[in-house]
């Protein structure tokens, strides 16, 4: 396992894609900062959209990192050189999750810098925001985003093991991120009697990004309590990981 982790970290760190991810995050957060006149407290609390941007970056990077083994036909060497296939799958996932964590930390630092640049002293980090203060709201938003990253990374690994087509996986991921929440709300709105069941659907999980920050408001949209949405995200993460690994293991190379 240690060797697989070393190998995967080596491969990941020698690619340009992690750097592109960092650049993309910076550019997208900057876009959020300058696209509207005046930076609201809500934008700062959301880390200049960091949750959404990191999620998009992560689905692309996670999918590409696994797909490259099939594209370069290195998967066979990887399989026979590794004593267990589980080591490869786990090592890849850990490297990507650590990268996601690093992006979250980076987005926190960028938020602090952008707030200083674009907000200055107009309001402080201790200013109240939705029954909390701004810094706490930001930390909760980033924590929620990290939980959703676990969901999206495991989903990307599951999908790429299943369909082996990187553009398709990225497309599905983006559709979930951009349309999933709205679609989930529409379904629940149209079938209110089924809400006790439909509220657990995977498209609803994206609300964790904002629900940790503003629980009162978002629990009414997701129909899940904060504890429930965290547990459901983790449950999906486990389901995607187990099924993804089983497909990865059985896949003919």
């Amino acid at each position: 396992m240690k060797n697989s982790l070393k190998q995967e970290f080596f491969k990941f760190s020698h690619q340009r894609i992690p750097l592109y991810g960092v650049i993309a995050l910076f550019v997208l957060m900057l876009y959020s900062a300058v696209s509207k006149s005046g930076v609201s407290r809500g934008i700062v609390a959301q880390g200049f959209g960091a949750g959404q941007w990191v999620t998009i970056i992560m689905i692309t990077i996670a999918s590409t990192f696994m797909a490259m083994e099939y594209q370069n036909r290195t998967i066979m060497t990887l399989f026979y050189k590794s004593s267990h296939k589980a080591y490869i799958y786990t090592a890849k996932m850990l490297v990507i999750i650590l990268y996601g964590l690093a992006l979250m930390v980076l987005s926190f630092l960028i938020t602090v810098i952008f707030k200083a640049l674009f907000v200055g002293n107009r309001y402080q980090w201790t200013t109240s925001f939705k029954h909390s203060d701004l810094i706490n709201a930001l930390l909760m938003s980033l924590t929620g985003s990290f939980i959703y990253i676990l969901f999206i990374v495991t989903l990307a690994f599951f999908l790429i093991s299943w369909i082996k087509n990187n553009p398709a996986v990225v497309g599905i991921g983006l559709a979930i991120i951009f349309l999933g929440a709205a679609f989930s709300s529409v379904i629940m709105g149209n079938f209110p009697s089924l809400i006790p069941l439909l509220k657990w659907n995977p498209l609803n999980m994206i609300y964790v990004i904002n629900q940790l920050m503003i629980p009162g408001y978002f629990s009414k949209i997701s129909y899940l309590s904060t504890d429930q949405i965290i547990i459901a995200n983790i449950a999906y993460m486990i389901i995607f990981s187990v099924f993804g690994y089983l497909i990865f293991k059985k896949r003919r190379v």
């Binding site: 080596f10 020698h14 370069n72 066979m76 060497t77 399989f79 026979y80 050189k81 004593s83």
Partner: protein, 295 residues
């Protein structure tokens, strides 16, 4: 070293490898030969635990299964295409798998890759990539090396060099299982022949024995060739038809004379015919195909 016992491999519901057994001893170079689709690559993948199989495979008495590759720690392989990360240099590709830096540098210098090993492998030519694939297979002083079409894309100098390196490693005790369509090249290095067709092994012999026994056929000419041909087919005697003659295996030459005599067909010529390695392989495959067809 490598022991393969009664393995069967399936792709979907189709049985690709049928009850195959063989051994590869330390220091031997086994040539795995067969037509396209015979199951050569599948056998190699099976040995590496990459396919589902029944039967038993062991390397140094340790079992290989689809999910446990612990026995393959000192096995190197190049299957189908060199497994290379284009964003890494040649050296970085090697570092991924190397356990001993001195050995890695030795392999690089042995294969004559020093001048370009620090370049990104995406810029390599086909031959350079092939060499890098072979270098990966030769890392960590392997006990067993499995090479699928190792001479693909190599120029004549590189081909000679690889041949020399294979012999050198074998002399130091490494065992090789090599498949190639370039039979002439394979013939120059191999110590054993493993001929496979339709997923079954039909020849498993040391090369000297194979040359001594299989290379000899007899050339037959009678006064009535169509009748002779029919007679042999009726009697299930394997024959190969050439423009003017029929070729029969050496061990069939005595029964043939008796049959011709009893059917009053005059024998005009029965002489030993030396076949080269390629012709022998083709002839054996033809015989096997005919036997399968008759069954």
């Amino acid at each position: 070293m490598l022991q393969v016992n009664h393995i069967n491999t399936f792709i979907g519901r189709k049985k690709i490898v049928k009850d195959v057994s063989f051994r590869v001893n330390p220091g031997s170079i086994v040539g795995l030969i067969g037509p396209n689709g015979a199951g050569k690559t599948t056998i190699m993948k099976t040995i590496l635990g990459l396919t589902k199989f029944t039967g038993k495979i062991s390397v140094e008495n340790k079992s290989v299964t689809e999910n446990d590759h612990g026995a393959l720690t000192r096995v190197g392989a190049l299957i189908e295409h060199p497994a290379i990360y284009p964003f890494l240099t040649g050296l970085e590709n090697l570092k991924l798998y190397s356990l001993d830096e001195a050995d890695m540098n030795h392999v690089v210098s042995l294969l004559g890759m020093t001048s370009y090993i620090n370049n990104k492998s995406k810029d390599y030519s086909m031959g350079m990539k092939q060499k890098l694939g072979i270098a990966i297979a030769l890392l960590n002083k392997p006990q067993l090396v499995i090479l699928d079409e190792p001479m693909n894309g190599l120029d004549i100098e590189a081909t000679i060099l690889i041949r020399k390196i294979i012999k050198q490693y074998a002399a130091q005790g490494s065992a090789f299982l090599i498949s190639s369509h370039v039979l002439g090249e394979l013939q120059k290095v191999m110590t054993n022949v493993l001929l496979i067709t339709e997923g079954k092994i039909i020849v498993d012999q040391p090369i000297d024995e194979f040359n001594r026994v299989s290379h000899q056929q007899f050339r037959l000419l009678t006064e009535d060739m169509p009748a002779t041909e029919k007679l042999f087919r009726d009697n299930r005697i394997p024959i190969t038809k050439t423009d003017n003659y029929l070729l029969i295996a050496r061990d069939q030459s005595y029964p043939v004379q008796d049959i011709l005599y009893s059917h009053h067909i005059r024998l005009l010529e029965l002489s030993p015919q030396g076949l080269n390695f390629e012709q022998t392989i083709v002839s054996l495959l033809e015989q096997q195909r005919r036997q399968n067809h008759e069954k």
